[in-house]
Symmetry: C2
């Protein structure tokens, strides 16, 4: 039997966090649940990690990005991006060329094979998102969007 802490040692107030109402904790659980759910759809099937998929998703949206730009857009660490790209290029899903004017920079694009995977995975990801949003009323969906906007800018 588990007893939620009600009394504290004499004279001392501990005030433990109530995790189930603690915003950072709740967000973390929710976010992990959703992202992992999406990853389950493609991970084994395409031997594609979550970071690799994220890279592919931004390359689908923006052509010819550099690795640095991919890192910015995905909010991923540049090392993680470098490694994901190494695998994606190796497996023929992304092409990498040298930038004409700046030889340090790479120019990245999805290949045909990359697009083929994208065109299967993107709809699945969208479906997962829709399934989550379905739990909310129209009104709640609007508020959620607004709230995320507010929380996101610093």
């Amino acid at each position: 039997m588990v007893t939620p802490r009600k009394r504290t040692p004499p004279g001392i107030q501990h005030a433990p966090l109530e995790l189930e109402h603690f915003l950072p904790y709740r967000l973390s659980i929710l976010s992990n649940t959703i992202s992992q759910g999406i990853a389950d759809d493609y991970q084994q099937r395409y031997d594609l990690s979550m970071t690799e998929w994220r890279v592919m998703a931004v390359l689908a949206r923006f052509e010819g990005l550099s690795a640095r730009e991919v890192a910015d857009r995905t909010a991923m660490d540049k090392v993680a991006v470098s490694r994901a790209l190494a695998r994606l290029v190796e497996s023929g899903r992304v092409s990498r060329h040298m930038h004409d004017d700046d030889k340090r920079r790479s120019v990245l694009d999805l290949t045909e094979a990359g697009w083929a995977i994208h065109d299967v995975v993107a709809p699945m990801a969208r479906a997962r998102e829709a399934a989550v949003l379905e739990k909310l009323s129209e009104e709640e969906q609007v508020w959620l969007g607004r709230i995320l906007d507010r929380l996101q800018d610093r």
Copy 2:
């Protein structure tokens, strides 16, 4: 210069995700930003990892939990909990006893040293949460709570 993809190869519709409006992506960024912010407050100062802090937080809230129960309450993997506990016991922040009736089970509690850390870190965590919520109006805060409730139950 980066050109957002507008046209697709002739005859093919790719429909890339717009990450900046994609809920799972936005949640992930937000959640990581907030949790990392809190972790920055205690990580170096107490040589305490995020998983260790989470374990401490539930042990502050509920006395005498088993490792299994800690895992359930924190939504962490049991291996992660086992490792966090090993460090916490080692560093004298958590005490571990054997359950009277079931010798497999451990009975976990914060020690004095554990409570001392808790009593510093918990208020900092709360302050971080408050700083996040401050960005929202009263009304938005209420909606957010409601929305998280809805999204969380399966």
